[in-house]
């Protein structure tokens, strides 16, 4: 299929970029992994995003902050291609999402994008390792190979001993670690995290954030974090603030 081939090319380009990065190639010209140009989205009659412009480079950690109801989660969902932009352009890993079908957007998300949501959103009937393997299984990987890769990631996020525990029986912190492993198991180029620490206490939240940003940083993965937590935002390279669906402010935090 044509689009499948295109997606595969994009995937390879990303891998190549990551390979050449440490050698000095491509470091001078940061590659944009996400571009939002004049993006608008409205729920029935309520506008959630009004002409949002955003640019995220490879390996960059960006925090999207703002008060409740300002459109942070909508921004993340539109940027990840979960919701289609109603106006404007969303370019993710070089692909214009507005030109892709839902199935093509899903394929892109599955292979090159990680997603972490507030409550983990794990499938409760599946074991931790199966939840992590899910994007790989849905992408057609053989079950044994996918589970081995997932188990490796569970070890990396520190809960290898819980691999066979049902998601429904995991604690909030463990669920979020599984969600982080699931987001990174495909070795994506960008991870979107929607209030990833929102259901955790301060210490647990900070630990999870370090895990997510640390693991992503090791692989040169860009991270877009939606948060209302000032401490979480401070851990990002850059903070953008939304107010009533508009980009209100952008500043470097580090």
């Amino acid at each position: 299929m044509h689009i499948r081939g295109n997606l595969q090319d994009g995937w390879n380009a990303g891998r190549l970029g990551r390979l050449l990065g440490p050698l000095g190639y491509g470091c001078a010209i940061p590659r944009a992994v996400l571009e939002l140009i004049g993006v608008e989205y409205a729920y029935t009659r309520t506008p959630a995003l009004r002409g949002v412009e955003l640019h995220v480079d490879a390996g960059e950690v960006v925090a999207v902050t703002g008060p409740s109801g300002c459109g942070k989660s909508t921004l993340l969902h539109v940027a990840a291609g979960i919701l289609p932009a109603q106006l404007g352009v969303v370019r993710l890993l070089g692909y214009d999402l507005t030109a892709l079908s839902e199935a093509q957007r899903a394929a892109l998300r599955r292979r090159d994008v990680g997603v972490v949501l507030q409550f983990g959103q794990l499938v409760p009937d599946l074991a931790a390792v199966e939840n992590v393997a899910l994007p790989l299984l849905l992408d057609g990987w053989a079950r044994g190979r996918a589970l081995r890769a997932a188990a490796g990631w569970l070890d990396r996020v520190g809960i290898g001993q819980e691999r066979d525990t049902l998601a429904a029986e995991l604690s909030g912190g463990e669920s979020q670690r599984v969600a982080v492993a699931r987001a990174l198991v495909t070795e994506p180029e960008i991870v979107f995290a929607d209030e990833p620490t929102g259901s955790l206490d301060q210490a647990g939240g900070f630990e999870l954030l370090e895990l997510l940003v640390g693991e992503a940083g090791e692989g040169g993965v860009a991270v877009v974090i939606v948060t209302h937590d000032r401490d979480v935002a401070a851990r990002a390279d850059r903070e953008v603030r939304l107010l009533d669906g508009r980009l209100d402010m952008a500043r470097l935090t580090r």
Partner: protein, 444 residues
């Protein structure tokens, strides 16, 4: 808390709660109507125009047992309906708890909700019985009618049933609230004991029934079969789930894990379908014997036997239909309750069709093995019964015909149920679409 306050708080305007009330009331009305019919037949009737099954002493028992057996899937449906709308109800009860309601008060509110639906159903049993009377007691030609004109005794029975059904419904509502919606417990020692006891009851009572003039042995065998089927149901579902799990595709894995997470709900349906399968196995042999051209039936006799067969097949089909509806209701409940994890699956590319395939595999893994096993058991039990009766295993040439007919009936039934499952999932498509909608990712 005053009774009026309890009733006021029990009433909910939510669509899900209204649907739940309607299904509980409908199933209780159906159970009440079947009870009214069974009790009417048990009282005996000599009215003109009725079919001999309900007028002759020897045959009445079969009709009564058929009606009572049909109540079993209806009650399973009631239990399933009581478990539905759990998300909306839990949110409502949580809000009441925050407002200061005690556990006892919450239990009273849950009981009042179920009690109101049960009372409504009990009252509706009479109109349901009248509709049944028109369909089976007025419209058929004279001589083929099943239901006599309702009389004063029916009214008295109905009035007596109203409080009984209401109390049962109220108790079940309170009990299920107490135990919660989870049914994940694996079959344990009690289940194994029930399985063995049920099988022994069937074998012993059927063996003694062959030499007996009384029908008591047959009734005990039916009770034994029900005990066996309801104990075997969850085990059969778990076995089907394990077989599904071994398939390489992700949809099968998801379907298998859903079944393993709640084997009892699907197990109840599997039990009913297993009993339907056993009946199918019996009916296949009965049909083979009746339609065997070696016999020279008079037209009237043939009509009697074929009519009886048709009636028993109708009971089996109705039972299976109620059971499958109950299973679909469970699937709907899951789609509503698990919309957040389902939406997450959509993020990773499991689309509406993929989720539809998960549901179809789930339904098929429950219904097909149950019917197949039931039909096989029906044939084996009946052949064993015949061998006990004649003192030897029937010759091979006499076994082949009924066995093939039984197999054909089981295959046709399994295919029909598979078709129904696919159709049900197609009808559920809007709910499937709603379950994987991205906005669910934000649901609390």
């Amino acid at each position: 808390m005053k009774v009026t306050t309890t009733i006021r708080l029990a009433r909910s305007a939510a669509d899900a709660e209204r649907r739940r009330t309607a299904i509980i009331a409908g199933s209780i009305a159906l159970a009440g109507q079947l009870l009214l019919f069974a009790l009417h037949v048990a009282r005996g009737s000599s009215a003109d125009g009725l079919v001999s099954y309900v007028t002759e002493d020897d045959l009445q028992l079969g009709v009564i047992v058929g009606a009572l057996l049909l109540i079993v899937p209806v009650l399973a449906l009631t239990v399933q309906a009581l478990r539905t709308a759990s998300v909306a109800r839990d949110q409502r009860l949580a809000a009441l708890r925050l407002a200061g309601a005690t556990p006892g008060q919450l239990r009273a509110i849950a009981a009042a909700q179920a009690g109101w639906a049960a009372a409504l159903g009990a009252v509706l049993a009479a109109p349901a019985y009248l509709v049944f009377w028109i369909a089976a007691g007025v419209l058929p030609p004279s001589g083929a009618r099943l239901v006599a004109v309702p009389d004063a005794a029916d009214v008295v029975t109905w009035l007596a049933l109203i409080p009984v059904l209401t109390v049962c419904g109220t108790g079940a509502g309170a009990l299920l609230r107490e135990r919660g919606g989870g049914t994940s417990a694996r079959p344990g020692a009690a289940n194994a004991a029930a399985l063995i006891a049920g099988a022994l009851l069937v074998v012993v009572s059927m063996a003694s029934y062959v030499d007996s003039e009384s029908n008591v042995g047959l009734l005990i065998a039916i009770v034994g079969l029900l005990v066996f089927a309801f104990a075997a149901g969850p085990r059969l579902v778990l076995a089907a789930a394990r077989a599904l799990e071994r398939r390489p595709d992700t949809e099968s894995l998801l379907a298998a894990r859903r079944l393993r997470a709640d084997p009892r709900t699907a197990g109840r349906v599997a039990a009913v379908l297993m009993v339907c399968g056993v009946a199918l196995g019996f009916q296949a042999l009965y049909a083979y014997e009746t339609l065997n051209f070696e016999y020279e039936w008079a037209a009237q006799d043939l009509g009697f036997y074929v009519g009886g067969l048709g009636l028993s097949v109708a009971v089996v089909v109705a039972g299976a239909a109620v059971a499958v509806f109950s299973l679909v209701l469970n699937a709907i409940e899951h789609l509503v309750a698990a919309r957040r994890p389902l939406a997450t699956l959509a993020v990773f590319g499991l689309d509406e069709r993929g989720l539809g395939r998960v549901l179809v595999r789930q339904l098929l893994a429950t219904v097909v093995p149950a019917v197949a096993l039931g039909a096989a058991l029906g044939n084996v039990v009946l052949f064993s019964l015949i061998s006990v009766a004649i003192g030897a295993w029937p010759p091979a040439d006499e076994l082949l015909g009924p066995a093939l007919l039984g197999l054909a009936a089981a295959v046709v039934a399994a295919l029909l149920l598979a078709l129904v499952a696919r159709l049900a999932v197609r009808l559920l498509r809007p709910l499937v679409r709603a379950a994987i909608a991205p906005e669910n990712l934000r649901a609390a």
